[in-house]
C-alpha cells in the first residue's frame, strides 16, 4: 500500500513536470494554466466526451476569469460543470487548482473528421481535438451487408438486415415493405415472423427478410423498398431482387388423352402439344422417345428452335408398331427436352390385330357356307 | 280309263357297268291296276324310284300326273303313295305316331292327321296294335301299316313294291280286295310290283314284264297271250314262263 502510494506520487510528479512544460509552452507567460490529460480523443458519432480540466493558478495572485469555449460546432451540445453547477467563470486561489468537467456530445449526424475547439480561462487557452472516426448517421439505421439477391421465380430471396436504434429512446419500429402485386414478403426476428420490432436505445437487431416472387413473374431486376418506421424516426433500405427466367414446359396432347390404338406393323400419327410454361424462352427443344424394341417413333419436327414463354406448338409423333407386336397394351415414353428442362409423357399404345386376318377368316367361313349353298342349290331340290 | 297318268319314254338308267333300266316306254292309265312283273334285279324297283324322282334317269323322260319328277319331285310325291319293299317304320314309336308323322309331312293338320290315322288303322286291321311300338310289329303288320301309310296322304297313285310278301294268305286276299275297292270307289291308280303271278293276275288290269332292265311285254293278259302264243286263253304263268325259260319265281 505504502509502495503503491509512493509509486503514484512519483508518477504524478513526473507527469506533472512534463505537463507543466507543455502548458508552459502553450501559455507563454501566464501563470494560470488549463490542463487536461487527453487532448485528442477519437470517438464515433453519438458518443459524448467528458473532459476533466484542471485550472491551475501558479501565480501568487488570485485568479478570477471568464471561461470560454470556441470552435465547437453549433449543433453539438456541451456543458461545463463543476460539481452539479454549470460554470461560466472561475476563481482559483494562488498556487491552487480547481477541476472542471467539460462534456461534449458528438451528435449522430456528423461528418467524419477532426474537430478542434478551444477552451479559455482568462488568457490561458487549452486546445482540444475530437476525432470523429466515422461518418455519423441519422438516428435509426437500417442496413444490410448484401442488398442484391438473384434467383428464379420459384426461389425465396432471403436478406439479413440490421436495424440500429441510435436514438436515445426505446423505439417501436413498424416494418413496412413496398412489394409489387403478387409478391410476398415476410420479416423475421429471432426466428419469429414479425411486423414490428422493439429496440432499446442504441441497440441493434437482426431482421431476416424473405421475399417470394410469383411464379409467373417476368425475369428482371426488382427493387423492393423496405422501411422501419416509428412516429419519430425512420430508416429506409432498398433491396434488389434479380429474377432470372424459369424454364418449364409441358408435353401433352390436345385432348389430354394419352392412349391410342395401332395395328401391329401399322403407323399412327399423334398430335402432341409442347407448351412453354416457364418465363424464359426455350431454345432448341429436342423430341425424344423411349419405345419397345422394333418400334419406331419419329417426330415431325424433330426439334423446335425457339418457343417463347406461354406459347405452344404442335409436334406430330408417328408411332410405328412392331410387325410382330402382340395385341394389347404397350408403353411408349415421349420426351421434349432442352438442357434446362424437360417434360415426359407415357403413352399407352394398344396394339390391335389387323382386321384383315379377321376378314380372311370370315371369307373362309363364307366360302365354306357358299359351298354348302352351292350343294343346296345343286342337290337340294330333289 | 283312257287318261294316261304315268308315261315313261325311253327311260334308261345306267350305272357304271350295267344298265339297270334300258329304254323303257310305258303308259299307265288313270284308274288302272298295273302290274310290274319280273325277277329280282329286272329293273322294276329302279323304274319305280325314277317315277318318284328318287333316282335320276340317265336318259328318257318320266311324266307322273303330267309332272316331271326330276323337275318337281314334290308335286309327284304329293300325288303318289309309295310302299317300298319290306317297308320300315320308326321302331321306337307306335303305329299311330308313324302314320301321323307321314301325314304331317304331307302338310295335313295334326288333328285331321290323327283322325285319319285311326281310321286307316282300323281299315287295315291294326286298331289293336295302334299304341304298340312299330318295332314289335310282325312283317305282315308292317306291310299293312305301310298300306295305311300310303293311303294317309290320299294319293292319286299308289305304288306298291312287293306289298304282299310276309302276309298270310287270308290277309293277302283282303289286301287285294282293299286295293280293288280303292280303285273302284276312289279312282286310285295302283302300280303293283310283285313276282307273285297269281296275285298279279287276280287284280291287275295290265301288266308289264321286266327282264334285265328291258320291258319284255306290256298289256292285259289276253293281249300278252296273243302276243306270245298267238292265241288267247293262256294264263299269266304260262306267258311269264315263255319269257323266262326255266322255272317261274314263286
Amino acid at each position: 500500500m505504502l509502495n503503491q502510494t509512493k509509486f503514484f506520487s512519483l508518477l504524478s510528479t513526473i507527469i506533472f513536470t512534463f505537463l507543466s512544460f507543455s502548458s508552459l509552452s502553450a501559455s507563454t507567460s501566464d501563470s494560470v494554466l488549463l490542463y487536461t490529460p487527453y487532448t485528442k480523443i477519437s470517438v464515433s458519432p453519438g458518443q459524448s466526451v467528458e473532459y476533466s480540466i484542471d485550472v491551475i493558478n501558479n501565480s501568487h495572485h488570485l485568479f478570477d476569469g471568464e471561461l470560454r469555449l470556441w470552435g465547437i460546432p453549433r449543433s453539438w451540445n456541451y456543458s461545463l460543470k463543476s460539481g452539479p453547477y454549470n460554470i461560466n467563470r472561475i476563481a482559483v486561489l494562488p498556487n491552487d487548482r480547481k477541476s472542471l468537467t467539460l462534456n461534449v456530445e458528438v451528435p449522430y449526424q456528423v461528418n467524419k473528421g477532426t474537430y478542434a475547439f478551444r477552451i479559455s480561462a482568462g488568457n490561458s487557452v487549452l486546445n482540444l481535438r475530437i476525432n470523429v472516426t466515422e461518418k455519423g448517421s441519422s438516428e435509426t439505421e437500417f442496413t444490410t451487408d448484401q442488398l442484391n439477391r438473384q434467383g428464379n421465380a420459384s426461389s425465396t430471396f432471403s436478406f439479413r438486415a440490421t436495424l440500429k436504434n441510435r436514438t436515445a429512446e426505446k423505439q417501436m419500429y413498424a416494418l413496412l415493405a413496398d412489394v409489387p402485386r403478387g409478391w410476398t414478403i415476410t420479416f423475421k426476428s429471432d426466428y419469429n415472423q414479425v411486423t414490428s420490432v422493439e429496440l432499446d436505445a442504441n441497440t441493434t437487431k437482426d431482421i431476416n427478410i424473405d421475399i417470394k416472387a410469383p411464379e409467373e413473374v417476368e425475369a428482371g431486376t426488382y427493387k423492393i423498398p423496405i422501411r422501419a418506421v416509428t412516429s419519430s424516426t425512420s430508416a429506409d433500405l432498398v433491396l434488389e431482387v434479380v429474377i432470372t427466367g424459369t424454364y418449364q414446359m409441358t408435353l401433352t396432347t390436345p385432348t389430354g388423352l394419352l392412349s391410342t390404338k395401332v395395328n401391329a406393323g401399322g403407323e399412327k400419327k399423334i398430335q402432341l402439344v409442347v407448351k412453354n410454361t416457364g418465363s424464359s424462352e426455350l431454345n432448341d427443344i429436342q423430341m425424344k422417345s423411349e419405345n419397345p424394341s422394333n418400334w419406331e417413333v419419329t417426330f415431325q419436327p424433330l426439334s423446335i428452335a425457339k418457343l417463347s414463354p406461354g406459347k405452344e406448338t404442335t409436334v406430330y409423333a408417328i408411332i410405328k408398331a412392331d410387325k410382330k407386336a402382340i395385341p394389347g397394351d404397350y408403353v411408349v415414353n415421349m420426351e421434349a427436352k432442352t438442357p434446362e428442362t424437360s417434360s415426359t409423357i407415357s403413352f399407352r399404345v394398344m396394339v390391335q390385330t389387323p382386321i384383315v386376318w379377321g376378314l380372311i377368316g370370315t371369307v373362309i367361313i363364307l366360302a365354306a357356307i357358299g359351298g354348302v349353298v352351292y350343294l343346296f342349290r345343286k342337290y337340294g331340290r330333289r | 280309263m283312257s287318261e294316261p297318268i304315268i308315261e315313261l319314254v325311253d327311260l334308261t338308267k345306267k350305272y357304271r357297268l350295267f344298265t339297270a333300266v334300258d329304254h323303257i316306254n310305258l303308259t299307265v292309265r288313270k284308274g288302272e291296276i298295273f302290274g310290274f312283273l319280273g325277277p329280282n334285279g329286272a329293273g322294276k324297283s329302279t323304274t319305280i324310284l325314277m317315277m318318284l324322282g328318287l333316282t335320276e334317269p340317265t336318259e328318257g323322260s318320266v311324266r307322273v300326273c303330267g309332272i316331271d319328277p326330276e323337275r318337281q319331285p314334290l308335286g309327284v310325291k304329293r300325288r303318289v303313295g309309295y310302299l317300298p319293299e319290306d317297308v320300315g317304320f320308326y321302331d321306337n314309336r307306335d303305329g299311330v305316331f308313324n302314320l301321323i308323322y307321314t301325314a304331317r309331312l304331307n302338310s295335313i293338320p295334326e288333328d285331321e292327321a290323327k283322325t285319319r290315322a285311326l281310321e286307316l288303322l282300323q281299315l287295315v286291321g291294326l286298331e289293336d296294335a295302334a299304341q304298340k311300338n312299330a318295332g314289335q310289329y310282325s312283317r305282315g303288320m308292317r306291310q299293312r301299316l305301310g298300306l295305311a301309310d300310303v293311303l294317309i296322304k290320299n294319293p292319286e297313285i299308289a305304288i306298291l313294291d312287293e306289298p304282299t310278301s310276309g302276309i298270310d294268305p287270308q290277309g293277302v286276299k283282303s289286301f287285294l280286295n282293299l286295293i280293288l275297292k280303292l280303285r273302284d270307289e276312289h279312282g286310285l291308280t295302283v302300280l303293283f310290283s310283285s313276282h307273285n303271278l297269281h296275285q298279279v293276275e287276280e287284280v291287275c288290269d295290265r301288266v308289264a314284264i321286266f327282264n334285265s332292265g328291258k320291258l319284255q311285254a306290256v298289256g292285259d293278259i289276253e293281249a300278252l297271250s296273243n302276243q306270245v302264243f298267238g292265241e288267247s286263253g293262256h294264263n299269266l304263268e304260262e306267258i311269264y314262263n315263255c319269257f323266262f325259260e326255266g322255272g317261274t319265281e314263286q
Partner: protein
C-alpha cells in the same frame, strides 16, 4: 276283317304350302307346320327320348357342375391375389380348378366330342337299316330335309344343353359369389357357349359323315370314337415325337427357337380340341395376349393388361375360323355324299 269303308277318308285335296317359303315355321297350332319343322321336332324328340342322350347329358351336367363347385370352393383362396385378371372374376368359374378335378372348359373339350358323336353316329344309317329312308323320301319333302333336319335337331339339342349349362354356371356364380358379371364377361361367356356349340357341331358332323359312309351304326360309332381317342390322346404324343425328331440340333437364335415352338404349336392346332382350348383360354382369360411363343422383343414394353373383347376375338379368330370352316366342310361332304347316295329299299 278289313271292313272296306274309306268314305270316312276325306277326299278334299289338302292345301299344300308350296307357296310359302320352304322353311318358314308356323307356330300356330291350327295351321299346318312345314314338313321340315315337323321333321326337326321329330328328330329332337327322338334325341331327347334316347337313353344314350340322357346318359351323356347326365354325365356332362354332373362333371361340369362338379367342376364349377370346385371352382367356387377355390374362390376364397384365389381372391386374395389381386391382379389385372381379377376384373374378370366371374370367368374364373369356367377356368378355375383345384387340381383334382379339371375345369369346366376342360370337361367340355373332352366330353363335348362324345356328345356330338353320340348324337349323329346313326343319323343316316339307322334310317337305311330300318327301311324308313325310302318311305320318308317318297313323302313330299326334299331329300336334303332329312340330313338338314337331323343336323339341325342335334344342333338345337346341343345348343339348348350348353345354354342351360352356361346359365346354370352363371346362376350358381350369382348365388355364391354375389357379384354380377360385367357386360364384357357376359359376352365372353356367350361366345364361349357359341364356340362350344360349334365344337360339338364339328364332331356331330363327323359322326353324321361316318353314319353315311358306314352302313352299320356300330362301325360308325367306333370310327367316331377312334377319331376322338386319336385326337384326345395320341395326337399330342405323335406331335411330341415329331417335334423331337425334327428339332434343330443347335438353337442359334431366339428367333429360331420361337419359330420352332410355333411350328410345333401349329401342328398341334390340326387337332380340333387344341383349337377349342386355344379359343376358350383366350376368351375366358382376357389377360392372355398370345397363344404362341414370343421373342423378348415382342414382350418388351408390353404391360400386363387384359385385352378388350374384340381383340380377344380377333386373336382366336383363326381358331374359330378353323372350327367353323371344318364343321361346315364336314357338313358339306356329308351332304354331298348323302345326296349322291342311291336310295334303295332295305
Amino acid at each position: 276283317m278289313m271292313n272296306v269303308n274309306i268314305t270316312a277318308i276325306s277326299q278334299k285335296r289338302f292345301n299344300n304350302n308350296a307357296k310359302k317359303s320352304p322353311y318358314s315355321m308356323s307356330l300356330n297350332r291350327n295351321k299346318v307346320q312345314h314338313p321340315f319343322w315337323v321333321m326337326v321336332s321329330k328328330e329332337i324328340s327322338d334325341q331327347v327320348r334316347s337313353w344314350r342322350f340322357i346318359i351323356l347329358v347326365a354325365l356332362i351336367a354332373l362333371t361340369c357342375l362338379a367342376s364349377v363347385y370346385t371352382a367356387l370352393t377355390q374362390f376364397p383362396k384365389s381372391a386374395g391375389a389381386k391382379s389385372s385378371e381379377d376384373i374378370f372374376f366371374f370367368l374364373k368359374l369356367f377356368t378355375l380348378s383345384d387340381g383334382t378335378l379339371p375345369s369346366f372348359t376342360v370337361f367340355i373339350s373332352f366330353l363335348g366330342p362324345l356328345l356330338g358323336l353320340s348324337l349323329g353316329f346313326d343319323a343316316i344309317n339307322s334310317e337305311m337299316n330300318r327301311g324308313t329312308l325310302s318311305r320318308i323320301l317318297s313323302q313330299p319333302i326334299y331329300r336334303d330335309y332329312i340330313i338338314n333336319a337331323k343336323f339341325l335337331a342335334a344342333l338345337s339339342v346341343v345348343s339348348f344343353l350348353f345354354v342351360t349349362l352356361g346359365l346354370l354356371v352363371v346362376g350358381a356364380g350369382l348365388i355364391f359369389l354375389g357379384i354380377p358379371p360385367t357386360v364384357d364377361e357376359l359376352w365372353r361367356v356367350i361366345f364361349f357357349v357359341l364356340l362350344s356349340i360349334v365344337y360339338v357341331a364339328f364332331w356331330l358332323n363327323l359322326s353324321i359323315f361316318f353314319s353315311i359312309i358306314f352302313r352299320q351304326s356300330a362301325t360308325s360309332a367306333l370310327a367316331g370314337i377312334a377319331v376322338w381317342i386319336f385326337f384326345s390322346i395320341f395326337y399330342n404324343m405323335i406331335i411330341q415325337l415329331i417335334a423331337k425328331g425334327i428339332a434343330p440340333q443347335q438353337i442359334y437364335s431366339e428367333q429360331q427357337a420361337v419359330n420352332f415352338q410355333n411350328f410345333v404349336l401349329n401342328l398341334m392346332r390340326l387337332n380340333p380340341s387344341q383349337l377349342f382350348s386355344d379359343a376358350t383360354v383366350t376368351l375366358l382369360m382376357p389377360s392372355v395376349r398370345s397363344l404362341g411363343a414370343l421373342t423378348m422383343a415382342q414382350v418388351e414394353g408390353a404391360i400386363p393388361t387384359p385385352l378388350p373383347l374384340g381383340q380377344s376375338l380377333l386373336m382366336v379368330w383363326p381358331q374359330v375360323t378353323g372350327l367353323v370352316a371344318g364343321t361346315i366342310v364336314l357338313f358339306a361332304i356329308s351332304y354331298y355324299l348323302f345326296m349322291r347316295r342311291e336310295v334303295r329299299s332295305r
